[in-house]
């Protein structure tokens, strides 16, 4: 399993698109929003939690269709399916690799970008905490969507259509935690609820994903 994670990380670094692209996209979203809504600091502070979360979510979406598509095309997925590691383990390893390449950098970059959006000082810790706990769910749900569409020629758009509704609860609780935190309100409840969704997704979705991949390989 570690071998698979290391391979995916190495591929992400060598092909260049991995770390950089998602972060650049996140930056662009955060820069474009003030250009669209105006420079008013109070307005920006108000919408910052939502923008940061939506931006992170969209950046995460960007790389989903490559998770399995490349392995499917070059035959690796067939070979992994006949390897000793169960397919559920393959799914979990690829999810972790995807999170390390997208979710983790997004979490680390978010506080810097939050400065651009004038996020109130007390919101920063909540922002990092909510993204750290929420982006694994984004990766996991995205991997599930990717395994549904892996057999399709042009699955990218369909993948977004399938995955975005599934992101709703995570987005709501995540952004709500930051919003409350930024206003100095109690933010533990939404954060815990979101962590619950993450835990449930990570525990159960590998099985659904592996089932979907088996169907797609046959």
């Amino acid at each position: 399993m570690i071998a698979l994670i290391l391979r995916d990380l190495r591929l992400a670094i060598r092909s260049g698109g991995g770390f950089g692209l998602g972060l650049a996209f996140f930056l662009l979203v955060v820069v474009l929003v003030p250009l669209g809504v105006g420079p008013e600091p109070a307005t920006l502070a108000k919408i910052a939690p939502g923008i940061l979360w939506v931006g992170a979510l969209l950046s995460c979406l960007l790389s989903l269709d490559r998770i399995f598509a490349l392995d499917f095309e070059d035959g690796s997925l067939d070979l992994l399916a006949t390897a000793p590691m169960p397919l559920e383990g393959v799914v979990a390893a690829k999810t972790l690799a995807h999170w390390l390449v997208t979710g983790l950098p997004l979490t680390l970059a978010a506080p810097v970008l939050a400065v651009l959006l004038n996020l109130p000082g007390q919101g920063y810790s909540w922002l990092v905490a909510s993204l750290a706990l929420g982006t694994p769910a984004l990766s996991m749900i995205g991997v599930f969507g990717a395994s549904l569409t892996v057999g399709l020629k042009r699955g990218g758009l369909l993948l977004s259509l399938l995955v975005l509704p599934l992101y709703v609860p995570t987005l709501i609780f995540g952004a709500e935690a930051v919003r409350r935190g930024a206003m100095g309100m109690e933010a533990g409840t939404p954060l815990l609820l979101m962590a619950g969704i993450t835990a449930g997704s990570v525990a159960l979705l590998p099985f659904a994903s592996a089932a979907a991949i088996r169907v797609n390989l046959r």
């Binding site: 035959g75 399916a81 006949t82």
Partner: protein, 207 residues
């Protein structure tokens, strides 16, 4: 390994019906038949990648190494890295033996995207060695190999059989294995079902 009365389908259409054979350690079985008869489909069914419509494939678990049309080679990884990955996945150690056997020693640090089609294929076949698994399922293993490389692979295959391995091979090329048995799949071609005995429940759903 035993295959008993297996029927398999491609794209929802049954292509082969009632295929049976056994494969003992040290044996090789060559699958023959015209294009489209279902050699790949049969191999994928035996490999467990798709379910058999009927019949049974029985073999000890975790004994298969499948090599299909695609080699599972990552373009940005070097030859040695590609092999080391598959060795690690199968819990095996070094890759030097496999590199040597498929004459890839000099290419070991070259990125796979800079390999020729034949070199790439050799890398794909070297992967079989590092899996450490006894039963090889080979789907047209010699595609894009030159005659020297075919001979090289023939030797590797013979060595594998001598060590008690087995191989199920779909190929049209003589691999220099006189002892291999040949199974012609033509007689197993699925026939159109007679009216009234269709396998597909929908063909019977008359008004």
């Amino acid at each position: 390994m035993q295959v008993q009365g297996v029927s398999c389908a491609r794209g929802g259409v049954t292509v082969l019906d009632g295929v049976s054979f056994t494969l003992e350690p040290g044996q090789a079985l060559v699958l023959r038949g015209p294009n489209g008869i279902g050699k790949t489909t049969l191999l994928r069914t035996v490999a467990g990648l798709q379910p058999a419509i009927a019949g049974k494939v029985s073999l000890p678990p975790e004994t298969l190494a499948y090599a299909g049309h695609a080699d599972g080679v990552k373009a940005t990884l070097s030859v040695a890295e590609n092999l080391a990955f598959w060795a690690a996945i199968h819990g095996q150690g070094g890759v030097d033996g496999a590199l040597l056997a498929m004459n890839l020693g000099q290419l070991r640090d070259r990125a796979a995207k800079n390999l020729s089609a034949g070199q790439r294929r050799r890398l794909g076949l070297a992967r079989l060695i590092v899996t450490g698994r006894p039963i090889w399922l080979l789907d047209e293993p010699t595609v894009s190999l030159d005659s020297d490389s075919v001979a090289l692979f023939g030797a590797v295959l013979r060595g594998h059989l001598a060590e008690g391995g087995a191989a199920l091979i779909a190929t049209h090329i003589d691999l220099g294995l006189p002892e291999a048995r040949v199974l012609d799949l033509t007689p197993y071609k699925a026939r159109a079902p007679q009216a009234g005995q269709s396998r597909d429940a929908f063909a019977e759903a008359v008004e």
